[in-house]
Symmetry: C2
Subunit: 213 residues, 2 copies
Amino acid sequence: MNFNKGLVIVLSGFSGAGKGTIMKHLLDKHKDAYHLSISATTRDKRTGEKEGRDYFFKTKEQFECLIEDGEFLEYANFNGNYYGTPKSYVDSLVEEGKDVILEIEINGALQVKKIYPDALLLFVTPPDAKQLKERLVGRGTETKEVIEQRLDLAYQQSFLMDQYDYLVVNDDLDECVERVHETIQNEKFRIHRNLNNIEIMKKELEVFSKGDN
Amino acid sequence: MNFNKGLVIVLSGFSGAGKGTIMKHLLDKHKDAYHLSISATTRDKRTGEKEGRDYFFKTKEQFECLIEDGEFLEYANFNGNYYGTPKSYVDSLVEEGKDVILEIEINGALQVKKIYPDALLLFVTPPDAKQLKERLVGRGTETKEVIEQRLDLAYQQSFLMDQYDYLVVNDDLDECVERVHETIQNEKFRIHRNLNNIEIMKKELEVFSKGDN
């Protein structure tokens, strides 16, 4: 059987839950296991950034053409700049049997699930709402209004959690990173991802059982 | 959040695939994590066997009364003796938050899934049909007829594989045992097993977002 088909993995969740840190540690510890999806953007290239490593840099016109052509798995506009995940790039990695990780916000994640129903959606959250509140409140430097906005956004986002596949509870970072790694690897053995393998086994067993021993 | 709800785990699969060995190693290595479900049986108690540790020993009449009362998750008759899994025993362990493992044959496993739709069904298989054949053929001591019967049974059983949750590929035993352990533990973070946790989080976030900071 072949258990090495590439997976599309989407990591998102509450802001302040530590997605970025989990992602960084996962990619550090399991360099060879995962490929980070590279986004396209219209924002300016910063010093030290490299085309095709940090981002695919596009003009606004190029980006909007790509949107029209349905070339993005998901895209969004932040502060006047577009950011998006090029579908062809992800497709080519998966085709090669590579596991591709996307770190994107929640609406983008649900877009990806529509295009790849087999994508594995991981939702990062602190162990409980109280700890999320503490992380969102931050270091006491934010206004009451900003804090309330953040908490309200988290509340709205909590209604989308049930569309994910797994909760990633970020309590102890190292444990959490290992659990994410195991979850992804074990997911490859889920029955619905192995219907092809099962068909092959059936056919081989049929031949064997017909007495060609 | 509470991720410690007890799971009902069913280990079954092809005969010759090594279920019993995996089970033994899993319970040895992770003694405190899992509880083995104890079967009831009408067969005679053997020397050294203990009521409530090895089996719950019943008379044929007692066993058939229990069947009538719907007290078994599943039962079967082998060589004139009944074997069955008492529902009340499994229920009480799960209630205490314990993960209960049942090692039963495939039809029994599918019965259990009907009663506990949340049960985790693991199907043990060698990596491919050829290796299954080799294990079924055995050490050259079996007749051609017996071997064909075994292969035909495996072929029939392969049609039920897609009703399971995970394949457990028994290639390297130690790896396989660890994968089973991880799979069970990670499964606790699956979204559909955490809808209650999510509801609690929503309610808490709603209170926080209404400005009671």
